[in-house]
Symmetry: C2
Subunit: 264 residues, 2 copies
């Protein structure tokens, strides 16, 4: 956060004050010497973001494919340089002349046809069955853990919980897609499997967030806000449980209701 | 909006119900035969979105540069084909092999260096001076005009007001950048100048939204939520008035305070 001088206006009274702003800066992700993506992000956890992004976009399938991550020789803190073991996945080869961004969920797709070809993976079968009580409790745990949000109001949060509703990890960012990429990247770097985790996002559930969760193999995703039509369709196709409007002791289940006790 | 069957869980009770979802589908924008961008958007006002996007990204400077907009020959409703008069701006020529998206605010920039080179324009001098009372009233006018938001909770809104606080136009979308692109595109298509307009956005003020307002020549932007550090820096550089946390009869002024009566 950075402090800035502001004018505060209330009723007929204007006063000078200081306000704390969430920092937003561009991060360029490079594969070797080639610029792959620019995303506007909150600085910090940049290598998690890079790893999560590469995984979300299907450029790596396993963290061991990353040989190293670092800064360029001039030390620029807004650039993350990733070196892969061997070659990137074939479809990256074909498209690495294209500009990609993590904000769209359709990164690197040159056309609608490409988008359809690259369908999200289907989750393996599991025996997860969550009680509503566990789910109700998630937003409050997230809220308590969010120290930054309180002061700036400018950050999106994403968190992973285990099936008992205990917080595993939390990331915040000015871009909600970045918050999820950081969360997924951190789990990958720590070799924590996400097949028994619940993802909670502080805002709405868009296609891109469901797509990222699907690529990470997360079986249950919950959003405090509403899902979109394509988010629901994508969750259904991936056999993911998608929960929306999780607040005040209630929620809606949009797909994968078999993982919720009390629903068929 | 589309209705979907959901499970509604409250306390210990689960019921079957229907819910209305905001529709999210991909729009591919083509310049002639070349795919330029894919963005996830709420269908509708697609040509406004295309025109606003091209203007925001500096690919056109005037709406007259667009010769025609339409669908491809197969009638695909998720593709907008734009034909320009003559050639596109030179920097589009150089970069049109790159994938771009409207979600990043840094579209078509291959590196951080490109991002810095393409600074936002500086607004011409004006004599705008707004009373706080006009500004306080904007969110309520927006709220009353938002019919879709009430039922889905899934849409971002952007609206233009005149200097008396009267609503000029309103657009909603699952992507907040799209809502602003549609709003700007509509004004361009109707030849409505935006140099005497106030832009209100329902969420936070990010770099990309300030950048779009700057490209459109909008002198005052207000957000219901918080701005980011780069949003404030960009507004300052463009000499734009940036207002945040506009709610409950109060707001903060982050830049361009000379356009607010009562502030220096």
């Amino acid at each position: 956060m950075v402090p800035v001088p502001i004018g505060r206006v209330e009723g007929c009274v204007a006063t000078q004050a200081d306000d704390l702003l969430a920092v937003e800066e561009p991060l360029e992700i490079r594969l070797g010497e080639r610029s792959l993506s620019i995303t506007m992000r909150t600085p910090g956890n940049d290598f998690e973001l890079a790893a999560g992004f590469l995984h979300s976009e299907g450029m790596i399938r396993h963290i061991a494919q990353i040989r190293s991550m670092g800064r360029p020789s001039d030390g620029d803190g807004n650039i993350a340089v990733v070196e892969l073991e061997g070659e990137a996945q074939p479809h990256v080869q074909a498209r690495r002349n294209f500009m990609m961004t993590s904000a769209c969920g359709v990164c690197g797709k040159a056309s609608l046809r490409d988008l359809e070809v690259n369908a999200c993976p289907i989750l393996p079968h599991d025996n997860i069955r969550l009680s509503p009580g566990v789910i109700y409790g998630l937003p409050e745990v997230l809220r308590r853990a969010q120290s930054v949000f309180e002061s700036t109001g400018g950050l999106h949060a994403a968190a992973l919980f285990n099936l008992q509703g205990e917080l595993e990890s939390l990331r915040e960012d000015v871009g909600r897609h970045n918050a999820v990429d950081k969360l997924v990247g951190a789990a990958l770097l720590e070799r924590r499997p996400m097949s028994g985790s619940i993802l909670l996002v502080s805002g709405r559930a868009s296609f891109e967030l469901v797509q990222k969760a699907s690529m990470a193999g997360i079986p249950v995703m919950a959003a405090v806000g509403a899902p979109s039509s394509l988010a629901v369709a994508t969750a259904e196709r991936s056999h993911m449980t998608l929960i929306g409007f999780l607040r005040n002791g209630r929620f809606n289940v949009y797909s994968g209701g078999h993982r919720i006790a009390g629903l068929i």
